[in-house]
Symmetry: C2
Subunit: 187 residues, 2 copies
C-alpha cells in the first residue's frame, strides 16, 4: 500500500496513537487503513456416494483438483458464498449446506469455512475457473493431485465420518513450517 484511498496522499507504515500495531496511516488526512484476514468459503458436495471435485483452470495450483471454494464477497453469508462458488466453478447447485470445518491459515491471513451438502441431480460442468469437473468415489480420489491441504483434510474427515453418519464441526490450524512442510493441528 502506497497511497491513501480517501485523499490520494502518501501513507506511512507506523503505529497510530493508542494502537499497538503498525498500520498504513495517511500522511495528509490521517485515515488509518486496517488490513484484515479474508474468508475462503467452500463446500464438499456429495451425490449418492460420490464427491464433486473441480480441476483448477487458474493459478495457484492450476491443473490440480479442488473442492469448490473461493473468497467470500461483501453482501453474502458464508453459506451463500460456499453455494456461489459451487455454482461458479462447477455450475452445481448445492443443497442443505451445513458448516463442517474451519481452517486457520495464519501465514497467509485466510480463514477457510468449509460446508457439507448434496449436489442437486448429480449435475456439474466446468465454470470459467475449472478445466474439468468430475464425481469421484472414495477409491478414485486423486490424493496426489489435490490442490490444497484444506481440501485433503476436509475429504479425509468426511470419509472417516461417513460410515457413522456423524459430522461434528472441525476446527484446525494449518501452517507451513520453515522447512516448507505443512502442519495441521485440530483442536
Amino acid at each position: 500500500m502506497n497511497f491513501c484511498t480517501a485523499c490520494g496522499a502518501s501513507v506511512s507504515y507506523c503505529i497510530p496513537a493508542g494502537d499497538n500495531r503498525q498500520r498504513y496511516v495517511c500522511t495528509h488526512c490521517g485515515t488509518i487503513h486496517y488490513q484484515n484476514p479474508r474468508i475462503v468459503a467452500g463446500c464438499l458436495l456429495h451425490w449418492q456416494d460420490q464427491i464433486l471435485l473441480c480441476r483448477r483452470a487458474i493459478e495457484p495450483r492450476l491443473g490440480y483438483w479442488t473442492l469448490p471454494a473461493g473468497f467470500m464477497e461483501n453482501g453474502e453469508t458464508t453459506r451463500e458464498a460456499a453455494a456461489r462458488e459451487a455454482l461458479e466453478e462447477a455450475e452445481a447447485i448445492a443443497e442443505n449446506l451445513t458448516l463442517y470445518a474451519i481452517y486457520n491459515l495464519r501465514h497467509i491471513d485466510q480463514v477457510y469455512m468449509m460446508f457439507r451438502g448434496q449436489l442437486r441431480d448429480g449435475f456439474a460442468q466446468p465454470g470459467q475457473e475449472s478445466l474439468e469437473t468430475r464425481l469421484f468415489h472414495q477409491e478414485a480420489i486423486p490424493w496426489d493431485a489435490l490442490a490444497f491441504t484444506v481440501v485433503r483434510e476436509t475429504l479425509q474427515r468426511f470419509f472417516a465420518e461417513r460410515p457413522n453418519g456423524v459430522f461434528p464441526v472441525h476446527y484446525a490450524d494449518v501452517w507451513r513450517q520453515a522447512d516448507g512442510q505443512v502442519q495441521v493441528h485440530y483442536a
Copy 2:
C-alpha cells in the same frame, strides 16, 4: 474509496472484464481493489458459574455490556484473536477456548466467531475499551443493557446448554429487517 492504493490515481466503480460484480478499479494502473467481509472474534469466558462481561467505553453502544470481541487482525488465528480481545478489553486470560458459534451479519459485512472457555483465576479489570468488567451469575445478566444481538444469542445458548454440558457449534444468520427489527435464524 476514491484513489488507488498502488499508484494514487482515481478509481472508477465498475465491473472488471471477466467479473460479474462492481469493484473499485484504478483508471491508471488497472489494479482491482477487492473488498471482503471482516471477522469479529470473541469469547464467552466463565469462572465457576459466572460469566465475564465488559461495559463498553467506546462507540457503538457505549455504556452497554458485551462479551469481549473485536476485529480479527492479520497474522493470528481466530482463536488467538478471541483470546487477544479478552486480554485487551478485560486484561483476562482465556483458557481452553473452543469454537462455539458463527453469526453471519450480511447487512454489515461481518462474520462473528464466538468461542467458549474459562477465565483464568476469575481475574479481570477494564482495558482501554472498557468502562467496567464484571462477573455475572445467570440471574444477574443485564439482558436489557446488552450491546449486540450476537452477545445476547451467545449467552442464551450457553445458559440453555449448560445444564446438559453439551455445546454444539451453532451457525446462524442475523439481519435487520426494513422495520428495524433484528432477526436471527439458526441453521
